[in-house]
């Protein structure tokens, strides 16, 4: 039951992300999503081995809730990125699109699955993936692209929790994806891009084209 409430709140954070104006709100929401994932994992993965469970919980708390937001803030500070998110479309349109995405994923999930609790899982994780993709497409800064990617990862993690009890290996692999890809994108490239380009903006990344 707590799972469902946490999932609903998770879904509401997506709406908030779509209309947030400052990078700081994005980061706080990502941290909050990490915390919600911790709650969901704690209640959901009751059947898996205790050591594995502890590993998953530590990953959600330490990595998703604290480490990623910390590094994001650090990168913003280090590269002196301005605090606005700079979307290409207005926030109202973003909100409309995210709402439509949530609607579509609910319809999709109800068509695919009969078990109600699972439908909520699937639909919310699919809509999270959509939201992440939309953030990547509609925001201007590289740092918001990375945030969109992290939101996609959260969606993937949520989806892997839905099957996690029977196949804990998939949850662990999802965590592997999290850690590797995030460290690679955050740790190495953004720092390098900050060093090479003065403004960390996709406008700088348009020298390669046909």
């Amino acid at each position: 039951m707590f799972i469902i409430i946490a999932l609903i709140i998770f879904n509401i954070t997506l709406l908030y992300i779509s209309i947030a104006k400052r990078l700081n709100s994005y980061i706080n929401l990502i941290a909050f999503q990490g915390f919600l994932l911790f709650v969901i994992a704690f209640y959901e993965l009751s059947e898996i081995h205790i050591i594995n469970l502890i590993f998953v919980l530590l990953e959600t708390v330490i990595f998703k809730t604290f480490a990623i937001p910390y590094f994001l803030k650090k990168i913003i500070k280090k590269n002196k990125i301005t605090r606005e998110a700079e979307p290409f479309v207005s926030n109202f349109i973003s909100l409309l699109i995210i709402t439509t995405a949530i609607f579509i994923s609910f319809v999709l999930a109800t068509n695919l699955e009969a078990n109600t609790e699972k439908v909520i899982y699937y639909s919310i994780s699919i809509s999270t993936v959509f939201t992440g993709l939309f953030l990547i497409m509609s925001r201007k800064k590289i740092i918001t692209h990375i945030m969109g990617y992290i939101i996609i990862e959260n969606g993937v993690f949520l989806l892997s929790l839905a099957v996690g009890n029977k196949m804990p290996m998939l949850v662990n692999t999802g965590i592997l994806l999290d850690i590797f890809a995030t460290i690679l994108t955050l740790g190495i490239f953004v720092n390098k891009i900050g060093d090479v380009f003065k403004e960390v903006d996709v406008d700088n990344l348009e020298s390669l084209k046909d």
């Binding site: 695919l112 993936v129 989806l159 099957v163 890809a181 990344l205 390669l208």
Partner: protein, 470 residues
């Protein structure tokens, strides 16, 4: 053996990174090449056996493993030439990182070929993304950074997509009470799976894998990387990694094609393939840079291959053969771009001309490579493309043959315009060009020879391998 191989490659890549004396690096590279060849020999001897419980040596794996091992040798030769020519230094830190990432890159592709478990395939695909992006970023300038950033970002998204697809697949497996994600089990139980979930799983897996295969939705991942990477890495990206994408895809396809969604799936694959050929045609008409042109040519060939797999029948055999020949022809052309760049200090087509006078051996490579890659006889690819079109005909898709042939005509035209400009064009204003040792083109001649030879006299054992891939 595989355990020793993985351990050995990790140790070797560490040693290459830490010990930066030239003689040591050379010998480590030689040891790695022998390790790779040794694994291939082991694979041939222990054909159809399982190793480390997640890896098995089946026809598809051994075929592409042989190609990768052959490609390893010129990769290192040209990498060393590249490092010595472009940096004029002893093995510095960046080059050491580059070489050790290439070792990991080749290892991860070997892992993709040999793995028989979906999650293991996925892990090695992710590893190949990471190592490839590091090796693209050798030059440490803004453009290389941009290319590798785009590559790593798009590939990360695509790899997440593949994982979502695997998760959806596992949801349908839970409904059928299967928990083992190995290809063999899934193939046996495939008809029991829920087709709705399979469809959505296929959409995600296919979209994700197109980044590696170089097909329509996510082909952009590779183009900039192939352009800005050192030429040996470009060659690996558009041949061995493309093959790795196709091997992974065929593993998934062999599961999905045992279910009732096969027809639906084939439509999606043909759509994606046709759009890939179309996109490649459009961009090759306007592209101003050799490496990008070759990269788009890879997209065209990948499109042909995926359409052939979708057409089925003889198409699958033709597709695999096409991939084999494409690997050799395209890598020869990419190695040659390194020499062209050193001759003109530019990749732009408008800065080139009269390459025959500057480097006769290299120019001959370009002529033969051009014939091979555009499938003009005596190229072996002519035969495979013929088989591919035949498979379309057998699948009652005559319209597809017509559309494909029209697009291929445009591609041959634009390809020949730029290649002949390079070979015979006017270049009076270019004065100082570097003399290039003809011996550097030796491996390319060998590869192009293989393409022609395999077209005319394919060994029976190779044909048997290619017929048994699914």
């Amino acid at each position: 053996m595989l355990l020793y191989y993985f351990l050995g490659t990790v140790i070797l890549s560490g040693l290459i990174f830490y010990i930066r004396r030239k003689a040591f690096t050379y010998s480590f590279a030689v040891i790695f090449v022998f390790l790779q060849l040794g694994l291939t020999a082991y694979g041939i001897i222990n054909y159809r056996q399982t190793d480390l419980s997640f890896f098995s040596i089946d026809p598809l794996a051994i075929l592409f493993l042989i190609i990768l091992s052959i490609l390893t040798i010129p990769t290192f030769i040209h990498s060393f030439i590249y490092i010595n020519n472009n940096l004029k230094l002893n093995i510095d830190k960046n080059s050491a990182i580059y070489l050790s990432s290439i070792v990991i890159f080749i290892t991860s592709m070997t892992g993709v070929y040999l793995a028989n478990h979906l999650v293991v395939i996925w892990v090695f695909l992710e590893l190949s993304t990471i190592s490839a992006s590091v090796s693209v970023y050798l030059k440490r300038n803004a453009e290389a950074l941009e290319a590798s950033w785009k590559y790593v970002f798009v590939s990360s998204i695509s790899i997440a997509f593949v994982f979502i697809g695997i998760l959806f697949l596992s949801i349908s497996m839970q409904e059928a009470n299967i928990t083992d994600l190995s290809v063999k089990t899934l193939k046996e139980h495939a008809p029991e799976l829920n087709t709705q979930w399979l469809k959505i799983a296929f959409v995600f897996i296919f979209t994700g894998l197109t980044a590696k295969m170089g097909l329509f939705p996510m082909y952009t991942a590779g183009i900039d990387a192939k352009d800005k990477a050192p030429s040996p890495v470009s060659a690996l990206l558009s041949t061995a990694l493309l093959n790795a994408g196709f091997v992974a895809f065929i593993r998934f396809y062999s599961i999905f094609s045992a279910t009732s969604i096969k027809v639906w799936m084939n439509y999606i694959m043909i759509l994606s393939g046709l759009l890939s050929v179309f996109v490649a045609t459009v961009y090759m008409m306007k592209v101003k840079n050799y490496k990008r042109m070759y990269a788009y040519s890879s997209i065209e060939h990948a499109g042909l291959v995926i359409m052939a797999i979708a057409a089925g029948g003889i198409g699958i055999f033709a597709a695999i053969w096409h991939l084999v020949l494409h690997s050799f022809a395209k890598s020869a052309l990419f190695y040659q771009t390194g020499q062209v760049f050193r001759a003109f200090h530019s990749k732009s087509i408008s800065h080139h001309g009269n390459y025959f006078r500057i480097n006769f051996a290299g120019a001959m490579v370009l002529v033969i490579g051009f014939l091979c890659i555009t499938a003009i006889p005596p190229s072996g690819m002519f035969i495979t493309e013929f088989f591919i079109l035949k498979s379309f005909f057998e699948a009652n898709m005559t319209w597809l043959i017509i559309v494909t042939l029209i697009l291929l005509t445009f591609i041959i035209y634009s390809f020949s315009v730029s290649v002949f400009r390079l070979l015979y064009g006017d270049n009076k204003n270019i004065t100082d060009f570097e003399k290039i040792n003809p011996l550097e083109s030796a491996t390319q001649y060998v590869f192009l020879g293989i393409v022609i030879w395999l077209g005319f006299f394919p060994p029976q054992i190779l044909l048997d391998l290619m017929k048994n891939v699914l």
